[in-house]
Symmetry: none
Subunit: 422 residues, 2 copies
C-alpha cells in the first residue's frame, strides 16, 4: 500500500439485493469499521449471484483499490458463487481446508446432526487464504493477502459478517499504521445549495493545503444544508486542530446561519435553546398542518417546553382559538403578515407562554393568486419579551415540499428569536 490513504471497495453479492424492495446494508457497517482504521471506501457495488459477473467485478475493483471486501455468497448452495469467483479472478485454485471442515462437522454434530454433503464446499479456501473463524455460522471468512493488496470474503448474514469485519479492521489497522478518518457535520439554514457553495469556494481551496487536508461534501434537504468536513490523520489532535479551524472559517462566513457544528437537527437546537433559557413555546399553524409542532416534539423531553400547538386551518378556528380579529382577516387576507403576527400573539397570550409562533400560507396546489402564489408563507414570532418579528417567504415545489420548507423556516425563526437576531 502506498503513501496515500488506503482505498477500499465493497462488493455485495446477491440477486435479492437487485430487486425494488431490498438493497445492501452490510456495506454501512463495513464502511464504519474501515473508516475507524483510516481506510476510505471509494466505491461499492451489488452484483447478482453469477460466477462470471462476480469475478469481473472483483477484477475491476482490484484495478482501482487497495482492499476489496466481498460480502455474501459463501453459503452451501449452488447459487453461492463468491469462493469460486474469487479463485477465478485471482487465478488461484480452491483448496479444502481440513481444520475448517472439521469445525463445520463439529458444528452440526453439536446439534445432533450429520453435516450435509453440500456444506463441504464451505471448507474450501482460495489457495493461501487465511480462514477467519465464524462462531455464528458455518462459512469462515477468508483473508487473501496479495502483497500490496488484500481481498476479503465475508459471509452475508449481518450477525456472522459483523464480528468477522471487526477482525478484518484490526488486521487492516496494522497495515495503515493507525490513521483514522475524522468528521464534522455542520448544518446551515437560509441558503440555497448554490449560494452556499459560492461562499464556500475560497474555503475549499484553502483546505486542500492544510495538514492534513480537509475534504468537504455539501448536501441540501428541505431548506437546510449539511456540510460534512473530514480529514484523515494518525493524530486525533492534528485532525481536531485543522477541523476546528475549518469550522471556525465556516462560522465566520455564515454567522448565525450556521446552526449546528455537531450534526444536531434544527428541532434539537431549538429545543436546547428553549430549555437553556427556561422558555415555553406555543404554536399556531395553518398551511403546515401541525408539521412544525410535530417536528419540535420529535425530540425527547420536548413536553418540557412545548405547551400547545393549534392547527387553525379554517378562518373560524383562527378567530375562535387564537383570538385573531375577524376584520384583520377581512382586510389583509388569511395569508398575511398581520394575521401571522396576530396568530403568534394570540396563541402566546392564551397559552400563557414566553414565545408564540404564527404561520399562515398557501401549500397548494389550489388557493394561489397572482399576488399570493402557491408557496407564499408568512412566519411570525412574538417573544421572548417584547420582541416581534415577521417575514414572508415564497417557497418552490409542491405541497409536501412547501410544508417542509415552511416548517424549517418556522423552526429557524424560533431559533433566531432566542439568539436575539433578525
Amino acid at each position: 500500500m502506498g503513501t496515500g490513504p488506503v482505498r477500499a471497495e465493497i462488493i455485495a453479492v446477491g440477486s435479492e439485493m437487485l430487486t425494488p424492495d431490498r438493497t445492501d446494508t452490510n456495506s454501512l457497517f463495513v464502511t464504519a469499521r474501515l473508516n475507524d482504521v483510516g481506510v476510505v471506501v471509494q466505491a461499492k457495488s451489488v452484483v447478482r449471484d453469477d460466477l462470471a459477473a462476480v469475478s469481473v467485478m472483483l477484477r475491476e475493483a482490484l484495478a482501482r483499490a487497495d482492499v476489496v471486501i466481498l460480502t455474501g455468497g459463501l453459503g452451501p448452495t449452488d447459487d453461492d458463487v463468491t469462493r469460486d469467483a474469487a479463485a477465478l479472478a485471482l487465478g488461484r485454485p480452491l483448496v479444502e481446508h481440513g481444520p475448517t471442515l472439521q469445525a463445520i462437522r463439529a458444528r452440526f454434530a453439536s446439534r445432533g446432526l450429520t453435516m450435509p454433503e453440500i456444506n463441504r464446499r464451505q471448507a474450501r479456501l482460495v489457495e493461501h487464504a487465511l480462514p477467519l473463524e465464524n462462531r455464528q455460522g458455518t462459512a469462515p471468512g477468508q483473508w487473501i493477502d496479495l502483497g500490496s493488496q488484500v481481498v476479503v470474503l465475508l459471509p452475508g448474514p449481518p450477525r456472522e459478517m459483523q464480528p468477522l469485519c471487526e477482525a478484518v479492521a484490526a488486521r487492516l489497522a496494522e497495515r495503515t499504521g493507525g490513521a483514522a478518518v475524522f468528521r464534522r457535520s455542520l448544518r446551515l439554514v437560509g441558503h440555497t445549495e448554490s449560494h452556499a457553495e459560492e461562499r464556500l469556494q475560497p474555503l475549499y481551496a484553502r483546505w486542500t493545503g492544510t495538514a492534513p487536508p480537509v475534504t468537504a461534501t455539501i448536501l441540501a434537504a428541505r431548506g437546510e444544508i449539511e456540510l460534512q468536513l473530514s480529514c484523515r490523520s494518525t493524530s486525533a489532535d492534528d485532525a481536531s486542530a485543522v477541523l476546528d479551524t475549518a469550522v471556525a472559517e465556516v462560522a465566520a462566513a455564515f454567522g448565525d446561519d450556521l446552526y449546528a457544528r455537531d450534526g444536531r437537527r434544527l428541532e434539537e437546537v431549538v429545543g436546547d435553546l428553549l430549555r437553556a433559557r427556561a422558555l415555553r413555546v406555543a404554536l399556531a399553524e395553518s398551511c403546515t398542518g401541525g408539521l412544525v409542532t410535530s417536528r419540535l416534539t420529535d425530540v425527547a423531553g420536548s413536553s418540557d417546553y412545548v405547551e400547545r400547538g393549534v392547527v387553525a386551518y379554517s378562518n373560524r378556528a383562527k378567530v375562535d382559538l387564537l383570538g385573531v380579529p375577524e376584520p384583520l382577516i377581512a382586510e389583509h387576507g388569511a395569508v398575511s403578515e398581520a394575521v401571522a403576527l396576530a396568530m403568534a400573539d394570540g396563541v402566546r397570550r392564551l397559552a400563557g407562554c414566553d414565545i408564540g409562533l404564527g404561520l399562515t400560507g398557501i401549500a397548494g396546489p389550489g388557493g394561489g393568486s397572482e399576488a399570493k402564489p402557491v408557496g407564499t408563507v408568512a412566519v411570525a414570532v412574538c417573544g421572548p419579551g417584547p420582541r416581534r418579528s415577521v417575514r414572508t417567504w415564497r417557497f418552490p415545489g409542491g405541497r409536501t415540499l412547501v410544508k417542509l420548507f415552511a416548517s424549517t423556516a418556522a423552526l429557524d425563526a424560533l431559533r433566531r428569536a432566542m439568539l436575539g437576531g433578525g
Copy 2:
C-alpha cells in the same frame, strides 16, 4: 438490444453515499420502474464525486449492460461531475442547450432571483443527448441514445429523479416491445407482517399456478402493510384478469383491514371518505404532537374537511382548549380512554364539526410506568352522529416509531368510524 431480457446497471454518484450513515436508495425506485417495462437490473454501484472514477464505472457498465442509468451529480457545484464524466466516457463534448438555460433562468426569476453563474453548467448536455424536462428542479435529465445501448443521467433528489425515471421507463417500454410487468399495490392495517404473511401463505401457493403466475412482495412500515402483486404478460387483459382475482382473494381474507386496492395512502383514503360524506373533522392530539393533523393535511384539498387541530401537550391546554374536566384528568390520568374521549368530544363540540378525534399517550423515552409503559396510546373518535369509540394501544419502538404507529392508528380509527365498523 438483443433477444434476451434487456439488462440495466444503475450507478449512484455521490461521496455522501459512501459514508457509514447513508447509502443509495434511489436505485430501489429505478429498479421498480425498469422491472415494470421488463428491464432486469443486473448490478448497481455507488461511486464518489470524482470525474475519472465515474467515467471508468460508466465505461465498465457499458461493457456489460444494454442500459446504464446514473443518478446524482447534476447539481451546479464543482463536485457535480456526472455530466463531464459521461462526456468523457462516451468521447462526446458537452454543449450548452439554449432552451434549458432559459428554463433555469426563468425558474430563478419566478422566485425573484437572478440565476447564479454556477448554475449555467446545468444547461450543458452531452452532445446529441435529449433533455428530460425537470419540473421539480433546475437540472434536466439526459437521455443519450447510443444505438444498441442507452445511457441516462438523472438528478439525485428523489422528487426530481422519480418523475424523470417514469419518463425514461416509458421510453424504454417502446424499445422492449413485448412483455411488461403489471402491478397492484394493496394496503392493510391492523396486522403485523408475520400475521399477514401467515394468512397469505395459502394464496401465495395458489398464485404460482395462475396464468400468468402472480408474484407477491410484502412490506411493512409504520403500522401499515403494503402488499405488491405483480405478473408479467404480453397481454394487459390477461394480467388484469389474474390480478383482479388475486385482489378479491386478499379482500376476502382481510375484510375491512384492506383499506386500499390502488396504492392510495391511508390519509388519502380518509380524506376521500370525509369528502364523499361531506363531513368535517377536528383533531386533538397529545403525544403525536400534530403528526396526525399533518399527515391528514398532506393531501391536496384537505382544507375542505380539516377544520382544526389542537396539540394539547400540557394538561392546562387539555382543559383550556378542549374543555376536558380537570377532575377527569386527576382521576384517570392524562393518558386514559376517558381523557381521549373527552378530548375528541371537546374538540368536536368547540369546532362545530361532525367528527372529533382525541389521542393521548406516552411517546417516550420518559414518562412511562408499569401500568402505562412507553408506547401506551389511547385513541378515541366521536361522531359522525352519536357514534363513539375508543381503544388503547401499546406500540413498540422508540419515540419516532411510537408517533408513527399512533398516527396510523388514529387515521385508521377515523376511517372505521366512517365505515360504521369497530
